[in-house]
């Protein structure tokens, strides 16, 4: 399986468009948004500077881009082309294909997190303790698995022309409503009530808790765990259905 992971990774790193959107693009938005806040300003009683707040949003957004966009469209395309069938004629175990896709997406998502951090620290002077940087990286990286599973599920659910719109709607919907682009506290109350149940919202809240040196809220962890179980279960069910059909 390592052979497939290596090849998937080589292919992902060769794809400039994909790298731009998952690694460079979140950092650019970070710079644009963080520059709007004054230095002393904090975001909605969190005690966090605009730069620190947006840094977590954009690192989460970058990881989300890398794992969601990387998986869904490719899986749908390769299912249709018959590559998935061809792989079933090798010694690769059944789940190997999905695991290789997820592993290579995870490797790309790590730089998309780290680059935002580096730019935040060097350009916007965000200062955190060493343990906080490490915990942030670990939490955002691990949390991205939730969305990797979602990407796999979409890849097995949709086919042909439907994959891209479904991925895009899910991607922008989760990013915007989850408060990755603007703080969800700027939403009307009814929308805030919806937003706080979204996995992206819990995902960013996890990172902010670490920045505030607080324990993450149990509700956020529970939301992430439930969505992870939901997405993995859905992906597994769709995968089995597809295998029987093929």
């Amino acid at each position: 399986m390592n052979a497939l992971i290596k090849l998937e990774l080589a292919r992902a790193l060769r794809n400039r468009k994909f790298l731009f959107f998952s690694v460079i693009y979140p950092s650019i938005i970070f710079l644009l948004v963080a520059s709007q806040g004054g230095t002393g300003e904090t975001v909605d009683n969190s005690g966090l500077s605009v730069a620190a707040y947006v840094m977590v949003s954009m690192a989460s957004f970058g990881a989300l881009t890398a794992v969601l966009m990387g998986n869904s469209e490719r899986i749908a395309k390769e299912r249709e082309s018959g590559w998935v069938r061809q792989l079933r004629l090798t010694t690769l175990p059944g789940r190997g294909y999905v695991l290789a896709k997820t592993a290579s997406a995870a490797v790309v998502s790590l730089p998309s997190i780290v680059v935002v951090f580096l730019i935040a620290a060097s350009v916007k002077h965000v200062r955190l303790d060493a343990w906080q940087w490490l915990a942030l990286t670990g939490a955002i990286w691990a949390g991205s698995l939730v969305f990797a599973a979602l990407g796999v599920a979409i890849g097995y659910l949709a086919s042909g022309d439907a994959v891209r719109p479904i991925t895009m709607i899910t991607y922008f919907g989760l990013s915007i409503l989850g408060g990755l682009w603007w703080p969800s506290s700027s939403f009307p109350t009814w929308l805030q009530d919806i937003a706080k149940w979204l996995p992206t919202h819990a995902y960013a809240a996890l990172g902010r808790a670490i920045e505030q040196s607080q324990a993450p809220k149990a509700q956020d962890i529970a939301i992430l765990v439930v969505f992870f179980a939901l997405f993995v279960g859905g992906a597994a069910w769709l995968y089995r259905k597809d295998t029987l059909k093929a």
Binding site: R11, G82, T90, T91
Partner: protein
């Protein structure tokens, strides 16, 4: 025994794609699975490779179930609609196939044998149809498998590419491997296979050497008109007939030896008009064989 099908059936909705199929392949054979489109060839190969599960009956490959045989590295296969991973080079893809095989060959050897060394650094998605087929062939022969399965391998190849391909294939067979390929070209089966299985509507119609099948499928259609009262009995007694159809003044017959049949026809003292003798296409030949089979079965049931 390399492959054993025992009373295998597979149904899609109302269509019986494979209908009580039993067959055995023996080591070292080169076997053609011949049949018109929709005969059940692809489904048979999918069942053999474990891509589909039989509704009834058992499929065994080297005494194992299909998936176990693949994991043991005993089967290399090339699918008709086998997509390829794009945006990687031919060499990278072949290397992947070698890495995944329990008994791999060297990448350079696999490339050379499939005749794709010159295009090894090209991206997979920039290949012509024939080149893609060769890459698929390379994936199927990346390791020392005992059985090679090919589903319509020469689709999309021109005549010279086809010849080169079969030369490569023959090398595989000469090394003692069992080769099973599906085709709807009678000529391919004739030139390559030592055994031909004819499949029609999911059932095995004929199993024999290429020459035997060709004699069966090589039937010709003879048609002519007769004037006046037609006495059918002597017509039905003509030699080498496989089918007779009299409608009005027109008689259509099928014969496995048209020359002898026509000669005998004149011997009856009749004057056939508008005489036509035409070869049957493969599709029609299958219908002829099927009708003969069904006629044989009818008295028993």
């Amino acid at each position: 025994m390399v492959v054993g099908f025992d009373q295998v059936s597979k149904t899609y909705g109302n269509v019986r794609a494979v209908d009580g199929l039993s067959l055995r392949l023996h080591p070292g054979e080169t076997v053609a699975l011949l049949g018109p489109n929709g005969a059940g060839k692809s489904t048979t190969l999918d069942l053999l490779l474990g891509l589909k599960q039989a509704d009834a009956g058992t499929v065994s490959v080297f005494g194992l179930n299909p998936r176990e045989a693949i994991v043991a590295g005993r089967v290399g296969a090339m699918l008709q609609s086998g997509g390829l991973m794009d945006e990687v080079t031919v060499r990278e893809l072949v290397k992947l196939a070698c890495d995944l095989h329990p008994k791999p060959y060297k990448v350079t050897d696999v490339l050379a044998r499939a005749g794709i060394s010159q295009i090894a650094d090209r991206k997979v998605n920039k290949l012509s149809g024939g080149q893609s087929q060769r890459v698929r062939f390379a994936l199927a022969t990346a390791g020392d498998s005992d059985l090679i399965v090919l589903d319509e391998p020469t689709t999309g190849m021109d005549v010279s590419a086809r010849q080169a391909f079969w030369a490569t294939m023959r090398e595989q067979a000469d090394q003692g491997r069992t080769v099973l390929f599906a085709t709807h070209y009678l000529e391919e089966a004739d030139a390559i296979a030592d055994r031909v299985l004819v499949l029609h509507r999911g059932r095995l119609l004929a199993d024999g050497t290429a020459a035997e099948i060709k004699a069966k499928a090589g039937a010709r259609r003879i048609s002519f008109d007769l004037e006046g009262e037609i006495d059918e009995a002597p017509l039905r007694a003509l030699p080498f007939l496989t089918a007779v159809d009299v409608s009005g003044q027109t008689i259509r017959i099928q014969s496995s030896d048209a020359d002898a049949t026509v000669h005998a026809l004149y011997g009856l003292g009749v004057y056939p008009r508008n005489l036509e003798v035409a070869g049957l296409g493969l599709e029609q030949a299958f219908v002829a064989i099927t009708e003969a089979e069904e006629a044989k079965e009818a008295p028993q049931s």
